[in-house]
């Protein structure tokens, strides 16, 4: 970052296209083996378009956009999200982060995770420390 952040400024966007097996790796890493994330047949049987990415995986991408922008994990203090939709592997996910307020070292950011034009996470509230 060059200079202090200002309200209205965008943090660098993070754009990721999770590969076909991203949710399988995330299931192993997180311990969440819910079949909607790893089994296409099961996912379709419960009305989903196919196996979906874990909401907490997308939240981790959103967190990474913040820590990459600020320069490391210690800068992320609070993150609050609502999961609004499903995200699929092999389609681009874009994280956009807008600085809302700066109060000394404390930075409030509103962030969104979008896929194919739809918000998967909208209005995530982030508190960072410079």
């Amino acid at each position: 970052m060059t200079g202090p952040l200002q309200p209205g400024e965008q943090l660098p966007a993070l754009v990721v296209t999770p590969d076909r097996y991203a949710s399988v790796r995330y299931a192993g890493a997180s311990g969440d083996f819910n079949p909607i994330h790893i089994d296409d047949e099961f996912a379709r049987a419960v009305g989903l378009p196919g196996r979906i990415l874990h909401g907490l995986y997308t939240m981790a991408l959103l967190a990474r956009a913040q820590t990459d922008a600020l320069g490391g994990p210690a800068h992320l203090k609070t993150l609050t999200v609502q999961f609004r939709g499903v995200a699929l592997a092999e389609h681009e996910i874009a994280i956009e982060s807008l600085v809302k307020e700066v109060d000394g070292a404390r930075i409030l950011v509103s962030a969104t995770a979008r896929q194919q034009g739809k918000a998967v996470i909208r209005g995530a509230s982030v508190e960072l420390e410079a």
């Binding site: 995330y26 890493a29 997180s30 820590t67 994990p73 993150l79 999961f83």
Partner: protein
């Protein structure tokens, strides 16, 4: 409407943070910061060992959260369960070698239009008693069609 949250008997869960688990998690979410992957880089930056990404909280909280969600008193219909929201507030960083104890309580239960909403609160402390993460986990159980 709010309904009385049953008092669940939930034991705190101890999770020992491993270096390779941090690397596995970091790779699964695409982290490239060497603090999560490269021991020499983490030590050179003044850390005792690899640093867990903040969202690694889901790993050390998992067993304590599952214990609550699978509690027979709640009898949750898992096929209809959705994770609707999540909040984390972080304290000091977590490193490989730390031992994290997580306690979970059922903070709120309510019902609206046939759906049941649960809010779980987690508190995770390291071996020095420092609060490394508090979490609010919002879950919804939809009615069967």
């Amino acid at each position: 409407m709010a309904i009385d949250a049953p008092a669940l008997e939930l034991a705190p869960h101890l999770y020992a943070v491993g270096r390779e688990k941090i690397r596995e998690y970091a790779r699964a979410v695409g982290e490239t910061n060497p603090l999560h992957l490269d021991l020499a880089a983490a030590r050179a930056a003044g850390h005792p060992d690899l640093v867990a990404p903040p969202m690694f909280a889901v790993v050390y909280c998992a067993a304590a959260i599952e214990q609550a969600l699978f509690h027979p008193e709640l009898a949750i219909d898992f096929e209809m369960l959705l994770h609707s929201g999540q909040e984390f507030v972080w304290g000091p960083l977590v490193h490989a070698g730390d031992e994290i104890t997580t306690s979970v309580t059922l903070a709120d239960v309510s019902e609206r239009i046939g759906m049941t909403f649960y809010v779980l609160q987690s508190l995770s402390r390291n071996q020095r008693g420092e609060l490394v993460c508090s979490g609010r986990w919002s879950e919804v159980v939809r009615p069967r069609p």
